[in-house]
Subunit: 169 residues, 2 copies
Amino acid sequence: MLKTKRSNSDSSEESFDLAIDASDRAILRVLLDDSRKTLQEISATVGLSPTTCWSRIRKLQEQGVIRRYTVDLDAAKLGYHDSVIVQVTLESHSDETLYRFGKALAEIPEIQECYLVSGDYDYYIRIAVRDTRDYERLLREKLYKIPGIRHSQSHFVLRVLKEASVPLA
Amino acid sequence: MLKTKRSNSDSSEESFDLAIDASDRAILRVLLDDSRKTLQEISATVGLSPTTCWSRIRKLQEQGVIRRYTVDLDAAKLGYHDSVIVQVTLESHSDETLYRFGKALAEIPEIQECYLVSGDYDYYIRIAVRDTRDYERLLREKLYKIPGIRHSQSHFVLRVLKEASVPLA
DNA sequence: AGTGAAAAGGCTTTAAC
DNA sequence: GTTAAAGCCTTTTCACT
């Protein structure tokens, strides 16, 4: 097994590259598309026996490659018809400010994604909103209530071309 | 059943608000966290019988609220240790340019998310990269190969505070 | 590592309340 | 919406290669 020391890693205790081969990736590709496929169906696609697929899947779970089984929901059908990307610049870039701000953000349920990025220590946020009025309310009542914002810029999402999923090249 | 006509919707043929109550949301919350929970477990959490949960889940699937069952993968464990947010401004804002550019973007597997946003008709993109060298290669060999880019700005993701999931407030 | 058969258990459906 | 029950199919284990 190839083990390569990695410098960074904020999502794993293991700092080694895992031995994931083409069959594993084939399995993951099937599960990404439909995690309720039966072992027989998976087996037919990847060309291994159901049992082998099962033990590989179990290993992938134990390694944490598969973090969880979940559902993909249609936000619009739940009333969240729009999405807004907000870029926030903070007044202070101290560790404490960054930490406090990040924690406050994570508690807002409408926030779908939130990244601290390099450059000017900005946050990139994507918010799900019911409509423009809801957007205005969210910003005013929730986002701007968090102290420490120097500046923010919003962009409405006009079209979603691709949504999150891990590449398996 | 309350039916309200909606103006926009690019993800659904149905342009009505669906009748989703607190129990449905409770079920969805369980499934988001673990879509392999048994009906008995779900039933215990939401306080309805397994059969009722089952028929509600089936309805949610038919309505398209549940788009698919999938897995949540750890990108870092698959070798994608970093994430970069790229903001792209196009030279032309014609329909054809926007369409062609968007289509070309969607074909790049490393692109995790891609949004066309209002304002200056920019694209917001998040790319999964193996490391900084991989990032440079991706930009040079894939992104910049697409014609029509006026300007682009990259921000490395330093910390992920929250990842995509639909709010169920 | 992969395979195949066999047991244990859950899903799905129907029917009655 | 609920309970009960039946058949079917999966997952999971285990012994073997």
